[in-house]
Every structure is written in C-alpha cells, then in structure tokens.
C-alpha cells in the first residue's frame, strides 16, 4: 500500500509551475510597452517655390487675379487677414479679417467668388464630401486619384477654375498658425498654394491694422539679404 501512494504523488508532480515564467513575461511586456513609440509622427508635404526669380514670375502670371486669395498670418493669434484678388495697398477695405476654423477663414475661402460670380471651391468641396462618403467602396489608389482630380477642378459637371492661395506669414507669426493655414488648404481641397514673403507695401498696410513688426528682426533680414 505504501508503494502505491508514492507512485500517485509522483504523477501529480509532473505539472510544471508556470508562475515564475508568467512573472517574467509580465515584466518584459511592461518594459516593452513603456519603451515603445507605436505612433509615428505625421508629416505634411511641402514644396517651396524655387529661388529662381524668372520661374517665380511665370508662375504668378499663371493664376488669374480673381482666383487668387492672399492670407496674412500674423502675430495676432486668433485672427487671420485675407485679401481677395490683386492687392490694393491703398484700399483699407481690401484687407479683411476673420477667425480661424470652420466659420472663419474656411467659409471665406469656400464662398470666394470668381469673375463670373460662381463659387468654384464650394462645388469642389461638395464633390469632395460626396467622395468621402463613397470612400469605403474604393481602394486607396482610386480614392487618391479621384481626390486629385477634384483638387484640380475636374468635376463630374465639368471643369471649374481652382483657387490659388498665397500664404504670407509675418516674422512674428507663430509656427502653429502657419501650419493651421496649410491645414486649411488640405481641408478645403486646394491644390495650388504657396508660402511667400511679405513686401513693404503689405507691411505698411498690416501695420495700420495694428500688426506688430519686429524692428530688430527686419534689420536682421536686411543684413542677411546683404550678405
């Protein structure tokens, strides 16, 4: 009888104790969880105009005046200034101010009228919204292609003109605000936009509106230009 009991106990001990292993695993997992960055940062693609002056002028001529909107990003954090069409430096009415976001600048851009009184961006954005709804039934490539068609004004109802946006940040504008302006381009499906420098006439015009320009920074710029 005693022998039988021993053999029974041995059978029970075949089970391996996993607890230490699980402990180890827990430790390792915690380590990896704390040390990893799963989310990669996002990016924006940006193509700046070349410094080649001849090329620049050609590009400027390409855009029709009525299809151009100039955005002025300034140190006034909640306001964005914009002007439609060719700059009228002596006309204070030309420079309008609005807020960031849906009800501000996006509305202004969306309902910007071109020569013939239509609002092409409104059409473009409507079609874009429709496309977003169909997104699930399309592959990524198809979606991208259709989106870029829409961006260049190729709508189902025919070709509409596209807007050209010139973003002019002042030296004291916050970098976030410049990114916000670029974001608006994305959200409004605007394909052609450019970041440009502020010229003296525009500076004078903005100063009248109370935008501060850093005297020291300007001197710096002049120095750099001389170099």
């Amino acid at each position: 009888m005693a022998k039988k009991k021993e053999s029974k106990q041995k059978k029970m001990n075949v089970r391996v104790d996993f607890t230490p292993m699980v402990d180890m695993m827990m430790l390792l997992i915690t380590f990896f969880m704390l040390c990893t960055s799963l989310s990669k940062p996002q990016t924006m693609q940006l193509t700046m105009p070349s410094n080649d002056k001849n090329l620049n002028e050609e590009n400027q001529n390409e855009a029709k005046a009525s299809q151009t909107v100039t955005l002025y990003v300034t140190d006034k954090d909640d306001i964005v200034y914009y002007g439609e069409g060719l700059p009228e430096y002596n006309n204070p009415e030309w420079l309008k101010e609005t807020s960031w976001g849906v009800d501000g600048i996006r509305k202004a851009l969306r309902f910007h009228k071109v020569e013939d009184g239509t609002m092409p961006l409104n059409e473009i954005m409507k079609e874009r919204d429709e496309l977003e709804k169909e997104k699930k039934s399309l592959t990524e490539e198809q979606f991208e292609k259709k989106l870029s068609d829409i961006r260049s004004g190729e709508l189902k109802s025919g070709k509409v003109p596209t807007l050209t946006i010139v973003i002019k940040p002042t030296d004291n504008a916050k970098y976030t605000r410049v990114i916000d302006a670029l974001d608006e381009m994305l959200l409004c499906t605007i394909g052609t936009y450019v970041i440009d420098k502020i010229n003296p006439e525009e500076q004078a015009m903005l100063e009248k509106k109370g935008v501060k320009f850093d005297a020291a920074a300007n001197a710096d710029n002049a120095e750099n230009a001389e170099k």
Binding site: P41, Q42, T47, M48, S50, T170, L182, D183, D214
Partner: protein, 209 residues
C-alpha cells in the same frame, strides 16, 4: 480522508493559457516596437490634420527648438558616420579619429559647430545635451559660401542621394526662425520636404478656442 486530499490538489491553477497570451503579446511588442529615442532637445510639433506618414528610412531630421537652435539626426547609424566623414573631408575641418566617429554614431542627435566637435564627442551624454542646447548648428554663411548647416545637408545628400528632409520645429516659435532654415534649404535647391506634425482632428484643433 481521501476526498480532502483531492481537493487540495485542485487548488493549483493552470497558467498555460495565460503564458500563451503573454508570449503572444510579448512577440507583438517586440516586433512592432521602435524604441523611443532619448532626444536631448525636446521639440513640440504643431498639430495638423494631415495624415501622411513619415517615410520609413532615409530621413534627415532637422529640429528647430524654441530658442531657434538647429539640430539634426539621421536614423541610419552607418549613414550618420559616413555623413560626418563626408562633412570633414569636403568642409576641410580637422580630421577625427575612428574612435570619435564611432562615438558620433551613438549620438541620437547632433548640433554643435564643427570647431567644437572634438570637445563634444569627448563629453558624456548629459554634457552633450547641454552643449547642444547652447550652440546648435550655425546657419551663418562662411565667407559668403555655404553655412555649416548647408554643408551638413549637402554631406547627407552626397552620402545618400535618396535622402528626404523632415523639418520638426517648435509649435510656439515665431515663423522667422523656421523661415531662416527654409531659406537655407531653398538656397541649395532643396525645395521639397516634410514638416513633422502631430495628428489631431479638425474639431480637436479648434476646441480650445
């Protein structure tokens, strides 16, 4: 008596399924993880709705912190070392020993003038971070030619022709600091690059206002 003994044995919990799950989780984390790099300089990227992912490799990161100092990093350590060697040979700087180049490869980020490079490489990581924050890569042009910053970018382009430039600038810094770097890049015909941002939705962006 016999009944009581059996009950005692049943207290043992079977850990096998649990360890199975653990192993799975562990493998997942080990395979997907890219380690958080200890960046000596913290730069808060601005928020954006853009959802383009940063390219996987061949990226030259340019950092601009809120004090307008410029730093750089290259993920690939082999290219990082080659870039330094290229920089030294084309820029005509005093040559560095293989040991120093090896030390340079360990840096997560670099950003000191070449004149201080030897001193920088002899330092501990904490001291390096301090020196970097105090100096940064100079963006002033040398005798009317390329600035050290442009020389670095040029060296990186020579080492790897497919290099993509990603610019990460502090969200609250004034635009002029970024403009300076953009101008430098533009001057060397580098007009296509990425701006690193952190993702947010359109609603999230305007919630605080």
């Amino acid at each position: 008596m016999g009944k009581v003994k059996i009950k005692k044995n049943d207290v043992w919990i079977d850990m096998t399924p649990m360890s199975d799950v653990m192993v799975l989780l562990l493998t997942f984390f080990m395979l997907t993880s890219t380690f958080v790099k200890n960046e000596p300089v913290k730069v808060k990227a601005p928020e954006s709705v853009s959802q383009i992912q940063i390219p996987e490799k061949d990226v030259l990161n340019i950092f601009v912190d809120k004090n307008a100092k410029v730093f750089m990093s290259i993920d690939n350590t082999k290219q990082l070392g080659e870039t330094l060697e290229q920089m030294v040979s084309t820029g005509g700087y005093s040559s560095l020993s293989p040991l120093e180049v090896a030390k340079f490869k360990e840096c997560a980020m670099f950003g000191v003038p070449m004149s201080q490079m030897k001193k920088f490489l002899a330092m501990s990581t904490e001291e390096q971070a301090k020196l970097m924050q105090a100096t940064g890569i100079p963006t002033d042009s040398i005798d009317g030619g390329m600035s050290e910053f442009q020389q670095w970018v040029d060296a990186a382009r020579t080492v790897n022709t497919d290099v993509k430039i990603a610019l990460k600038a502090d969200a609250d810094s004034p635009y002029k600091t970024i403009k300076r770097v953009m101008n430098e890049l533009q001057d060397m015909d580098e007009s296509h690059y990425y701006l690193i941002t952190s993702y947010t939705t359109d609603e999230g962006k305007h919630k605080d206002k």
